[in-house]
Amino acid sequence: MEEEIKMENPEESEIPVAPENEENNEISQDKLHGESLGDRVKALSPAATVAKRFFRSKLSMIGLVTIIVLFVFSFLGPLCSPWGEKEADNNKSDAMISGSYITYSVDDTELSGEEITYAWNRTLNDYAGISGDHWMGTDRQGYDVFSRLMYGGRVSLTIGFVVILLETLLGVVLGGISGYFGGWVDNVIMRIVDLLSCIPTIPLMLILGFALNGIGDLETSIMKLYIIMGVLCLIGWVGTARLVRGQILSLREQEFMLAAKCSGLSTRSKIFKHLLPNVIPQLIVSMTLGLGNVILMEATLGFLGIGAPLSTATWGNMINLVQDMRIRSYYPNMWIGAGVCITLAILAFNFVGDGLRDAFDPKMKR
């Protein structure tokens, strides 16, 4: 235990100091609050902490960029495109070559021969390949695939957001009530949740899709898709409700809720100021992850042909073309784009969701 003794400058040591040990209990109020050392440490604000953790992960950054690109592509892209959603390209110049056997005389000699006429005709430009005009060709109706991809993105992404928002709203309200009040309310709501989770989604949608066809002009209207997705919301909130209920059950036992009860706070303020804000991080994560699922669901509907009318551009409907063997084999340009978009969107949302979960998790140390 040897350690060199650092000797100070001689003039300093001249000040006589007697180590006094008597109690010095008078601490001025100033001193109590003097925290100059504490002030040297700056904290990260809560938002900055989350943002920092989020941006540190490369995958979630890739996801975020992809989502932004997809949004720009779908919502701003159509403005730059010369083709509309249902605007068929009728400008295919077809050379009509017709020939007929005629007789004609040259220098009084009667000759017979063929007359060939070249006529330039404008017809529907369907099954077009990739060209400068149609970056991804055209489909069976002569619609521009690339433009439809953009319009399809609008429908798919909007539906995703609307459905998720509705689901979350329902889930938060019902799950929150169930978790906070407990007792028979909880029992009733949770049994409803159990019942709803028994309903198989795909058969339900098939039945619904065909049933709706018979009503009015739903068969040709995009309303049908909205109705189906609305029904999906009605059974899709159960996951969120379970999540919120679980969170609230555990939060309810926390000491700060006891403290709130102890202060005699109203139920409303307990729920909305103390409980729900603490569930929001988990909700954001589950919403982001859920978005991918909804987009996938729309694609499934489109693929099965029961979502939006086929003339409406959605990514699902574009995928539907795969069912035509000829298109599947010879015109991959018609469906590959939609497939890639769906994959990208789902992957991106999942990456962002994972990134957010890690960012919100206080236990993450990396």
Partner: protein, 443 residues
């Protein structure tokens, strides 16, 4: 409201600062990780002890955490040593770096953000002797005569006992494991590669943690967890021997029904019992040093008394040293031979237990002792140290305790005070005692 924005933002890190911190952190972390990854030859970490009586010497150890809020200098130049066969108590409040010091000794600092930046931790270890291929050299059973001396053949070589297949039999050590040729080496743990460190962790140094509830794995029985450690560290031990050893250890830590506890799961035991099991696991391989990191903080007073009693008893039995980390001065007074007081990553005072408790010098040590109410005396108002325990980020170069000190002088604004050797065993880092030291050295 009335708090203006500037005032509020003062407490948050601006985006620019944050970016700088991140840049610096990634640079530093990359450097240290690179250093760790390269191949380290034994010559680099084998050193010499300053004092051969010590078992561990911390020498100017710096362990930093590169966090988002800045570099946390958790351990900032810590120098002290643990003499063999003694109990050293490391005292300090939360965030003073006492736990990080012990984790550095185990090389368990949370990487990559936490890194041992400089300094050394010298540890006297019994390392395996390695042959030229890097393999351990076993000791074989030899034929002995009645006096226990090795019989030699005509060439003067030892005669080895052979098993049925004509192979030499490896000698068993006292724990029932294979015996290898050992050598006593002093190693610098701060520079040691992780691979070699595994030989030390658990076998030479073991650790008892604060939370007995979470430091046992809930899905394995107590016996499983004891045996696992035994099998890992005592090579070549037979199954029966391991179990025997485990039960012996459970017995040693005062568990009345060791066979029964051996079969139980952690959740079936109370906190005190679990802590006893943790101690049993720590003792399993006859470690030279036990680090007890707040071993009784989570326990009740009556159970704490039992556990402290047990630790004292065990230290006598295994002939090892204990490094006791705690915030409770009472526990230290009862257990420790030497006391090290830490504050904000630095050792501010150290000495024998008598030095620290009878003649505390540093205002912080004095304050700590006075601020704890005691059962046997009545005081009207408790002495209290004003202010808060600082978070060791961006520390200034003056005494860290200056703002909270009631004996603060002009000099204290100068650079961080060096150590003053007040008596041969007692050292303090405070300007109050500079003169005293001078007088002593003069006279």
């Amino acid at each position: 409201m009335a708090v203006d924005k500037q005032e509020r933002n003062k407490h948050y890190i601006s985006r620019k600062e944050s970016r700088e911190i991140a840049k610096n952190n990634s640079k530093m972390i990359r450097n240290f990780e690179k250093q760790k990854k390269r191949k380290i030859r034994p010559e680099e970490y084998v050193t010499e002890m300053k004092d051969p009586n010590n078992i561990v010497e911390f020498d100017d150890l710096h362990t930093f955490f590169f966090s988002d809020a800045g570099t946390v200098k958790a351990v900032n130049g810590v120098t002290f040593s643990v003499p063999a066969g003694s109990t050293v108590g490391v005292v300090g409040e939360s965030g003073c770096g006492k736990s990080v010091t012990s984790l550095s000794l185990m090389q368990l600092v949370q990487a990559p953000s936490g890194q041992i930046v400089s300094g050394s931790i010298r540890f006297r270890a019994d390392m395996f002797k390695l042959d030229e291929h890097g393999r351990k050299i076993p000791v074989y059973e030899t034929e002995t005569d009645e006096d226990g001396n090795d019989k030699l053949d005509e060439n003067g070589n030892k005669i080895y006992k052979l098993d049925a297949r004509g192979k030499k039999i490896i000698k068993k050590n006292e724990l029932g494991g294979n015996m290898y040729e050992m050598e006593r080496e002093v190693v610098d743990i701060a520079k040691m590669p992780t691979q070699a460190m595994r030989m030390i962790r658990g076998r030479e140094i073991s650790m008892i943690f604060q939370e007995p509830m979470t430091s046992l794995n809930p899905v394995f029985t107590i016996g499983n967890q004891l045996d696992e450690v035994g099998k890992l560290h005592i090579e070549g031990i037979s199954k029966e021997k391991v179990k025997e050893r485990s039960i012996e250890m459970l017995n040693l830590v005062g568990i009345a029904d060791p066979e029964g506890v051996y079969k139980k799961y952690p959740h079936e035991l109370s906190g005190g019992m679990r802590q006893r099991v943790m101690i049993a696991i720590a003792l399993l391989c006859n470690p030279k040093l036990i680090i007890a990191d707040e071993p009784t903080t989570a326990l009740d007073v009556t159970i704490q008394a039992q556990i402290l009693d047990l630790l004292r008893e065990i230290k006598g039995k295994i002939n090892g040293s204990i490094m006791l980390i705690t915030h409770d001065l009472g526990v230290v007074a009862e257990m420790a031979d030497y006391v090290v007081v830490m504050y904000a990553g630095k050792v501010i005072e150290m000495g024998t237990a008598e030095d620290i408790f009878d003649r505390p010098l540093h205002p912080y040590t004095i304050g700590l002792q006075k601020s704890k109410p005691t059962v046997d005396q009545v005081t009207d108002e408790l002495y209290c140290i004003p202010g808060f325990v600082p978070n060791p980020i961006n520390m200034p170069n003056y005494c860290y305790f200056r703002d909270r000190c009631d004996k603060c002088m002009e000099k204290c604004s100068g650079e961080y005070p060096g150590y003053v050797q007040v008596t041969p065993t007692h050292k303090v880092a405070c300007y109050l005692y500079k003169d005293m030291a001078k007088e002593e050295t003069n006279g």
